[in-house]
């Protein structure tokens, strides 16, 4: 089908002058196929149904809107946690700042190096999960990423990894346009925790493909950095085997535009997928969580829990879908998205969807938008808690339900501590 002229023009403008990175045959083939997908789909524009609530133009345009870097005095995250640190600066791997990449139970390679090898396991995953995720809904920015990404990590997990991998993304250049593509493959029974933090770049396009084999477990916690002007379009594509576990949580504070897509396919029986996020937006802030969970096996459980606190004209979006395919009996699907609007200028758009083709399932979804609880606020103030602190206490309490989705207590406390500190600093 021919693309509308406007879309065609925008797509061509973005691709103009770009050449695909080289590499071995499998990598070149994956990139060329992805580029063909981009050309066939066209890049998103505001009239696309899937982009109804989020304007994609600044994510698509060739020129990167500049974003000032933000000097936070927060100090590094996860300091108290034994972890393997891998640093990227404006989307480029920084070997000197990173730990040694050898760790028992896992092999970590750079995409650029692995793509040169004629035979590589990543052939079966790189761009493969992304392509699977293109139906029934197109995600052209992910295909663009597969085509153009030069850096990223290929992580092969063969056992239970003793400590988390911590991917740290620094943003140093005001016009950096980073494209990172990670591929994570977990063998049967393997287990890995990935922690991501940092703003990454002025504009960040990230894809993470996660292939979780039978009985394996993948845990993911990320924070997206506090640079006000940064933009990000991220995708996670996960494929889940039998009795596997996939858990991801994202905390977003600040950022002028964020679109986080998470696409999960449950292909093995008795698997569990938990996708959660909390965000705090103030002023020029637009945050979009777009989730698509497909149940294509028996007795799988999925949860989507998203909470947003918005003020001073901040906007939040949630598009979440649970698709239960024929035969996916005993599916337990749950989805909740809630926003706390601290003033009348802020906005939350939610589009929860269920599509069910099996008859023995339990699926529920809910979405709410509300103001702060005035009764609770007065009660706190009547006990001497100043209004701003009382508001922050209620804000934290509201976000707690999403943060609770983080299984590990140490990580959970780290994130609550961060949130608390950020709210305190905001109060001055």
């Amino acid at each position: 089908m021919a693309l509308p002229q406007k879309k065609l023009d925008a797509t061509e403008a973005r691709l103009e002058g770009l050449s695909l990175p080289g590499g071995a045959a499998w990598a070149r083939a994956a990139r060329e196929a992805a580029l063909d997908r981009v050309k066939a789909m066209g890049l998103p524009e505001r009239r696309d149904e899937y982009w109804k609530y989020t304007r994609p133009d600044t994510l698509v345009q060739a020129e990167v809107p500049p974003a000032a870097t933000f000097d936070s005095d927060d100090g590094p995250m996860y300091e108290g946690i034994d972890r393997l640190k891998i640093v990227f600066v404006d989307g480029k791997f920084d070997e000197a700042a990173s730990d040694d990449l050898s760790l028992e139970g896992v092999t970590i390679e750079r995409l650029s190096a692995a793509a040169e090898k004629d035979i590589h396991w990543a052939k079966d995953v790189y761009g493969v999960l992304e392509e699977r995720g293109q139906t029934p809904v197109e995600r052209p920015l992910a295909a663009l990423n597969t085509a153009l990404a030069e850096d990223g990590l290929l992580i092969h997990v063969t056992g239970r990894v003793s400590k988390p991998l911590n991917l740290v993304y620094h943003h140093r250049s005001e016009t950096s346009d980073a494209i990172l593509h990670h591929v994570i493959r977990l063998d049967e029974g393997a287990d890995l925790t990935v922690l991501e933090n940092g703003p990454a770049a002025a504009r960040f396009n990230k894809v993470m493909e996660v292939d979780v084999a039978d009985g394996a477990g993948f845990h993911h916690v990320r924070t997206q950095g506090r640079d006000h002007e940064r933009r990000a379009a991220t995708h996670i594509f996960a494929r889940l085997g039998k009795e596997s576990t996939f858990k991801t949580f994202t905390l977003t504070v600040n950022g002028v535009l964020t679109r986080n897509e998470c696409v999960v396919e449950m292909l093995g029986d008795d698997a569990a997928a938990h996708i959660a996020g909390a965000c705090v937006g103030d002023g020029d802030f637009h945050h979009d969580d777009t989730v698509f969970v497909t149940h294509d096996a028996v007795n799988c459980e999925s949860r989507q829990v998203f909470k947003k606190v918005l003020r001073n004209g901040a906007k939040g979006v949630f598009q979440g879908k649970i698709l239960v395919k024929p035969g996916a009996q005993k599916t337990d699907g749950y989805q909740i998205s809630q926003s706390l609007l601290l003033d009348d200028d802020s906005e939350f758009d939610a589009k929860p969807e269920l599509e069910i083709y099996a008859d023995d399932v339990a699926c529920s979804h809910g979405s709410t938008s509300g103001a702060i609880d005035e009764e609770g606020l007065f009660y706190l103030r009547a006990r001497g808690v100043p209004k701003e602190i009382a508001t922050d206490l209620l804000t934290l309490a509201f976000l707690a339900e999403a943060v609770q989705e983080i299984e590990d207590e140490t990580l959970r406390e780290e994130l609550v501590g961060r949130l608390d500190a950020w709210l305190q600093r905001r109060r001055g």
Binding site: D373, A382, L393, A397
Partner: protein, 251 residues
Amino acid sequence: MLEIKNLHVGLEDEDKQILKGVDLKVGAGEVHAIMGPNGSGKSTLSYVLSGRDGYEVTEGSATLLGEELLDMEPEERAAAGLFLAFQYPVEIPGVGNMTFMRTALNAQRKARGEEEMSAADFLKLVREKAKTLKIDADMLKRPVNVGFSGGEKKRNEVLQMAVLEPKMCILDETDSGLDVDAMKLVSDGVNALRDAGRSFLVITHYQRLLNHIQPDVVHIMSEGRIIKTGGPELALEVEENGYADLRGEVA
């Protein structure tokens, strides 16, 4: 301690006067009771004093130790020493009871220019106060008032009072929803806080609470005014004859 002069209060959103000239003076260390029928303005008085939104003061003043309360934010009133024990304590999911009390205490201390209390000292203080009110560790850990029974909520109010050590305590129908045992527990908690430097204003429908918390002075409120003031015997009179007689007497 507390001095209310000619207080006129209406609702902000509708043209309705609720308090029509309340005068009241509570001296240091005194316990005053306000009794009155439904709709007489008792709860409004407690809300206006504590600074709840939705009311408009059209005339009069209310001072605590000489300071005008009505100009202050609710949190400033609390720091100045005012405490309202709510008729319906609010449930706050997600905020732990201990966090709540510690934040409140330290905010008040900070506002008064005092040093904040350490977590360890605070824990010790709360444990000690909680014990006498038979509040267990679980209630302290749970979110504020969430899932508490009526009696637990009221005990939690008294615990906050004990921890925050206010100068002027207003108890708004603290007896509502309490069985006899709970009422005794709550009253004992309040009585333990009676002190020469602390005053109480006990708002209640019924005389029975005043058997447990014995007042020095009893006021009868009706249609937005205090229509009669007397000693403890006035409460017994109301109990026997109802409010109708008193209203007739004044008219």
